[in-house]
Amino acid sequence: MTESRQHQVELANMAGIIERLAGELALGEEPARFIAALEGLPEDEVEDEDEAPRDE
């Protein structure tokens, strides 16, 4: 497999993973909540994923 073909395969795989996982994201999800998860913000300050509207 040529180098560029291999890269295309890798990119397609990564895009497929995002496509599979991102449908579960709540609208309120944003990158900064990663820090909140580590710093231990109380659960009631974190949106309930089961009830939150979905992105798509």
Binding site: M1, E3, Q6, H7, Q8, E10, L11, M14, A15, I17, I18, L21, A22, E24, L25, A26, E29, E30, P31, A32, R33, F34, I35, A36, A37, L38, E39, G40, E43, V46, E49
Partner: protein
């Protein structure tokens, strides 16, 4: 405690049994004898180290102690910017990285009395799991010649194992502290994301990079981490949390600590010798009072994939200039990795960042409701022969490196603290190690667990012969 450990050496200097100059000269003698084989250094700073040692010796004579590491020789991965020495980041360009300020973590260690012996070898741009480097020489495994030392903080781990310095600073974006620590039989801890400032260190991926110590024992790592950690105005991601006295808490034991052995992912496809070694360590920990049980984890493959995507995108963004202007100066493996990152869409990158937050929250909530610590292997296979790596194509090499870091990368994604602790040897004489993973900012428990295990198991009393 003997003077081969960082803690023992610091105590020996404080008790005036050994002087800073003697400590540096001992290290230099070993480096001169064996670094032509190991290639742990990119730039050895003999003059600077001896000058600093003489100054510290004068201070000690006058009763002026600079800090807990007074006179202790250390090494710094060559992506830590320090004034007066170039920072190649493992590339062929001596001054690839010119930071506006010094590496905060390294500077804190020096301000605490440590002595810099110089800058350490690493995989080019910190992109790689094996410690090979065509520009500065492949770092050799101190325990078995011709085998990988692990990467990317290869010189840091090999140098600690060889007794070239008492401790070293490494960085970890997908396992680059824990993998070489596992390969070289030393302790390495990747702290929680934000525990140690990243200011003044080359960025590979600002979302995934962590700095941390490598040392001979958990006690040594605890002493270093205490100095390195803490808030830093130069790094907005550095946590403002207070830093515990890690070394002061080491003797508390692990009675009642709940240890989880993963049922899924972490033991799948792992060399039998490694899996047996980690399970044996779990039994020893149980004998020391821990409660060991099996646990099913949220699928770590999702976080591994998400972390890889984020790392690729950020690495290509940061290192675009060298890729575009001097691609011939990069090794083909590094070029190939960067190439992929340029093709990642903004949509995929941003979704990955959102997924990271969600996956981390779920993992912390589900796993640490049941256990206090996860125990896993660090590496899935023994350190490979360097010659075997050379026969692979670029794609084969990168795929193999990806598999080699698959047990460590999930915790760069989640930002959780993870320590690599030696737990024996393979039949061939290469080190075995376990990875212990804890709650956010619970480095103290990981260090205590590592210390308790080391004191009971005693593997750290062996040193590689190097001959």
């Amino acid at each position: 405690m003997n003077e081969e450990s960082l803690a023992g050496l610091a105590a020996g200097i404080r008790a005036r049994r050994i002087s800073p100059v003697e400590a540096v000269e001992r290290c230099l003698a070993r480096i001169r004898k064996w670094d032509s084989r190991l290639h742990a250094f990119i730039r050895l700073d003999e003059e600077g180290a001896l000058e600093a040692a003489r100054s510290l010796e004068a201070d000690a004579a006058a009763g002026r102690w600079r800090g807990p590491l007074h006179g202790v020789p250390l090494g710094f991965k060559d992506l830590c910017h320090l004034h007066g020495l170039p920072t190649s980041c493992g590339t062929r360009m001596p001054e690839y990285f010119v930071g506006a300020g010094e590496c905060s973590a390294a500077r804190r260690l020096l301000d605490a009395g440590a002595i810099s012996l110089g800058k350490l070898n690493m995989t080019e741009l910190a992109m790689g799991a094996y410690g090979d480097n065509a520009h500065h020489g492949d770092v050799d495994n101190p325990w078995l010649a011709g085998h990988a030392a692990g990467g990317s903080s290869s010189g840091s781990a090999a140098g600690v194992a060889a007794g070239f310095f008492a401790g070293a600073v490494g960085s970890d974006t997908g396992g680059s502290i824990r993998l070489p620590a596992g390969c070289c039989g030393v302790v390495g801890i990747k702290p929680t994301y934000g525990r140690v400032s990243r200011a003044g260190a080359m960025v590979l991926s600002w979302s995934m990079d962590h700095l941390g110590p490598l040392a001979w024992t958990a006690r040594d790592a605890a002493l270093m981490l205490k100095v390195m950690a803490g808030r830093d105005p130069a790094d907005a991601t550095a946590s403002r949390r207070a830093v515990p006295d890690y070394a002061g808490g080491l003797e508390g034991g692990i009675s009642g600590v709940r240890i989880g052995l993963p049922e899924n992912y972490f033991f799948e496809g792992v060399d039998e010798e490694i899996a047996v070694g980690v399970r044996q360590a779990a039994r020893q920990l149980e004998g020391l009072g821990a409660r060991v049980s099996e646990i099913r984890l949220p699928d770590p493959r999702d976080m591994t994939d998400v972390a890889m995507l984020i790392t690729r995108a950020e690495a290509s963004t940061i290192h675009a200039r060298v890729f575009r202007e001097r691609p011939q100066d990069l090794q083909p493996v590094a070029r190939a990795r960067l190439q992929v990152g340029f093709g990642i869409s903004a949509y995929d990158y941003l979704q990955a960042l959102r997924l990271r937050a969600k996956l981390t929250r779920a993992f912390v909530r589900e796993v640490f409701a049941e256990v206090d610590v996860l125990l896993t292997p660090v590496i899935p296979e023994s350190p490979p022969a360097l010659a075997a790596l050379k026969t692979a194509t670029v794609d084969e090499f990168n795929a193999r490196a990806g598999r080699f870091s698959r047990l460590t990368r999930p915790f760069n994604g989640s930002g959780l603290p993870a320590i690599s602790v030696p737990c024996g040897f393979t039949a061939a004489g290469l080190p075995l190690g376990f990875q212990a993973v804890g709650r956010p900012f619970d480095e103290a428990l990981l260090l205590r667990l590592g210390h308790t295990y080391q004191e009971a198991a005693g593997w750290h009393r062996r040193r590689p012969s190097l001959d």
